[in-house]
Symmetry: C2
Subunit: 531 residues, 2 copies
């Protein structure tokens, strides 16, 4: 069982130092502290365990240290910033693990960019040594990149020439779409094992500047001071305590049948209504705790339960209570903590969109698919709602833009691409819909009556779990993201899909493949047929 929870006092590979408005995240990977056996994490190379700490650190900065305005990402190792994902780990991992590892790494980088875009925190990659592969991909997830100019240190994406795979955790897409590096230069750079050093790297737009070693620390400090001076200070933060037993999430695994029942329990009891009260509730506030639990369970399902192909999503609680939480969130969205709580909800929901499992939403009397929890239904591949006058769905302001998908649309916009007028109906006078109304409006897929209900759900589950899991993954990745594409969807769609393909190919992972033979006395031999 891989555990995605950690905290700074347990970090093995990162140090998180907070000094007023500046956080320094220093990578100091411990070679032997690996998540699995058979490899050593040399040269600040990383495995999933290293990235789980990074994801935690970014999350904690947002909630625990809102006063931080700039995050310096650097390394404590001399002459090396980060050598990227560990090759021997990749070479010895299952295909499914490689894919999930890359997805999580991508999500962590998107979380940094989300912080930058929405919370205004600036990320600086202070490359005090070479950043190669995933190391450079981590750097381009930052807002600014500075490289030491010592005659040796370089930035590079050596995956294609050395390993026969892609810089697949956002690298290629961010190169041409975020940093807008000219495609011919990106082509040269991505096939150059040794990468580029200071002057040319800057000229080509791969870094923002370079400084000699003697002036490196001071130059970074100066730049950080400029950034910090421009910004305003929020705080104080709240503590993110460990999630022990879930309070708002119930998971029932039906491993034999390859599906899981996942229930989210709505808020109960008195809820805070002002920022001050929310601050007092801290991480026990339903809107934060329920989504932290949901995030954790999704991550665990991905890597610990690969054979679970279908998740039946249920909710349980009072629609009014969910809507009342949404009202509080909407009314106070400008407060830093409320903003972070909403942004976290959005990230968790995007994690669900990007999870390679089928989701069916099941709506019955007593469920509370309302407002933010309505997004769970909208994110599902299908929904089944019992034809019963006591079952209801309800929309809130939170469905109108606060929780966008990776493609920039709300899930309702995505759903009603063909009939945008329906959005007005959803957000009209009447924001609550019984089964008949929900069906008429097109909010749900099926509305079986009491007689058919159990059979229909059972058959739907049996049918879904009998299908090819690969075909379902490809199908869902195509159907879930209608409409526009963004850098994020390009990373998860185009780049990831190509990498997944390459990760299966004999030229990478066969006995003569480049990934298999990396670092061995044997050499890779390619089948040169172009596909």
């Amino acid at each position: 069982m891989i555990n995605f929870q950690t905290s700074p006092d347990q970090y093995k590979h990162w140090k998180l130092d907070i000094a007023g408005p500046v956080a320094t995240l220093s990578m100091d990977v411990q070679e032997d502290e690996t998540l699995a056996e058979g490899y050593k994490l040399k040269l600040n190379s990383y495995d999933l365990g290293v990235d789980i700490e990074l994801a935690d650190a970014v999350q904690r900065i947002r909630f625990e240290h809102p006063e931080v305005m700039a995050v310096v990402v650097t390394s404590l190792k001399p002459r090396i910033f980060c050598a990227g994902a560990n090759i021997y780990m990749l070479g010895s991992s299952s295909h499914a693990f490689k894919v999930n590892f890359c997805k999580f790494t991508n999500e962590t980088r998107c979380a940094m960019e989300d912080d930058s875009r929405h919370s205004g925190r600036r990320y600086l990659a202070a490359l005090n040594g070479t950043a190669s592969g995933g190391g450079y991909e981590l750097a381009i997830a930052c807002d600014e990149i500075y490289l030491v100019d010592d005659g040796n240190s370089a930035v590079s994406l050596p995956e294609v020439p050395l390993l026969g795979v892609l810089p697949g955790t956002g690298g290629l897409t961010r190169l041409v779409d975020k940093r807008k590096v000219r495609r011919d230069r990106a082509d040269v750079f991505s096939t150059l094992a040794e990468g580029l050093k200071g002057k040319r790297a800057k000229e080509w737009g791969l870094i923002d500047d370079y400084f000699p070693r003697s002036k490196f620390d001071d130059s970074i400090k100066t730049r950080v001071q400029q950034l910090v001076a421009q910004q305003t200070v929020a705080g104080p933060g709240i503590k993110l305590t460990p999630l022990h037993d879930y309070k708002y999430v119930k998971l029932e695994l039906n491993r034999e049948q390859r599906y899981a029942d996942l229930t989210i329990v709505g808020p109960a009891g008195p809820q805070p209504t002002t920022p001050a009260e929310i601050q007092e509730f801290g991480d026990s506030y339903w809107a934060l705790q329920a989504y932290r639990e949901l995030d954790d369970v999704l991550l665990s399902l991905r890597v610990n339960e690969p054979e679970i192909g279908l998740v039946c999503l249920r909710t349980q609680g009072s629609i009014e209570s969910v809507l009342s939480v949404d009202q509080t969130l909407s009314a106070n969205r400008d407060h830093w903590l409320v903003r972070e709580i909403i942004l976290n909800m959005a990230r968790v929901l995007r994690r669900l969109d990007l999870t390679a499992k089928s989701f069916f939403a099941i709506v019955e009397p007593g469920s509370c698919f309302a407002g933010n929890l309505l997004e769970l239904l909208l994110a599902s591949d299908r929904s089944y709602m019992l034809m019963d006058s006591d079952a209801a769905l309800a929309a809130s302001e939170m469905n109108a833009g606060a929780l966008p998908m990776s493609n920039g649309l709300t899930r309702l916009q995505s759903r009603f691409l063909a009939e945008p007028d329906k959005l007005d109906e959803v957000f009209g006078e009447k924001k609550s819909f019984d089964t008949e109304e929900a069906e008429e409006l097109g909010l749900i897929t099926f509305a079986p009556d009491d007689l058919d209900w159990e059979d229909e759900i059972r058959v739907a589950i049996e049918e879904r779990t009998s299908l090819s899991p690969d075909a379902l993954t490809g199908m869902e990745a195509s159907l879930r993201f209608a409409g526009p594409e963004t850098m994020d969807t390009k990373i998860y769609g185009r780049l990831t899909a190509w990498q997944n393909w390459i990760f299966q190919r004999p030229n990478a992972v066969g006995p003569e493949g480049a990934l298999t033979n990396y670092g061995k006395p044997t050499q890779a031999h390619f089948d040169f047929k172009r596909t």
Copy 2:
């Protein structure tokens, strides 16, 4: 050697009837007329040979029958429109062939949509029987879809449930992006082997209407008459004669070194300058013939020369002559034939963008990378231009929008995403650039001098052809399409990449895979781990 050239008198599987403004394209696949051995094309299922005829027919309608305003796509078989790509053909094909087959099929469907969008010709799918899989994908490439209502005929995408692969020739993307079918309905439809019949298919937006068999032909006729009445008539057409020996394209294969030299020869001698003269030149007009030859050679390289991983693109001729052709084309772009010639150029260049081989442009004195041919350089992964005062590049109005990439941008816009001001420089007073100017402006990648020239090119070729062909395909597919995505790029990027992945997976093509076992007494068995 697969030959992509054909003509209606050679068609085995399609009938093309022209009656004034209405063309009828009827599918009547001959079971035994297959491109390879080991399968029969039952139930109007198709292989690459069938699609080559369809592509030819669409091309001929545009050039030979500009008076056609509506194209009815239907079948001569009773009760079946088209059963899609032949499963046994897919099951017995190499991975590379499957991928190239799907790409060509996608391109043919995009060519129909290109005709509809830019030339105003309306495509009607008259489904006189079931359209399943690729058959329905062909239908959704049309503007309107009508299904016979006979209690049996249905539309379906049974790939996921029956074969464990995707409806990968545009199906899933067109479902949610073109027809904007709600994603939960698309999910249900794409997992329902038997598909949906008239009423529900219409309700879900899968078809535009349905008619009983007794009224089917008349209803189609009525609709066609409505479409035809709204439009204006062009013509007369020009004849597309067979391409025998290439006149403007020279191909030299260096199979041992796995690269090809491809030279496009510019226009020479007197060129037409008015539509009437162009009409007289017909398909021997350089702007049409050179691009038809280039199209043919690209298609042949893809399927007949899989081990050629790199194409060195050269041009030869007079820059002034190319620019003069561009001037004629630009000045007369509203004439139907000129419009078709330009649109054909654009399609051929997009075919190049989508070809899974590396392209290096090589610029020397005597070359003519100008105007429309400058696009070849801009489409290349890299360019090398000899530092010589006699070498030059030149821009024309044709580089400013007439030849867009699949993502909707011009290749210059794509190139200068980071520096859009450079576009003004390219299109300023001075439209011709020597090597130094081209380098300064960022039009080229490298500008070696005479001393280094041959070595640098040789080393670049050796390096490129030594890399993993799979990694290069994935890398180029990511770097070539910076900026926005469109339905087309989603089909070629997201959907195709996922399908390529699935086409490699044991659950599809392994001994126990669904594709392998289709139609056999044995059953597929899946590894249910979700990836």
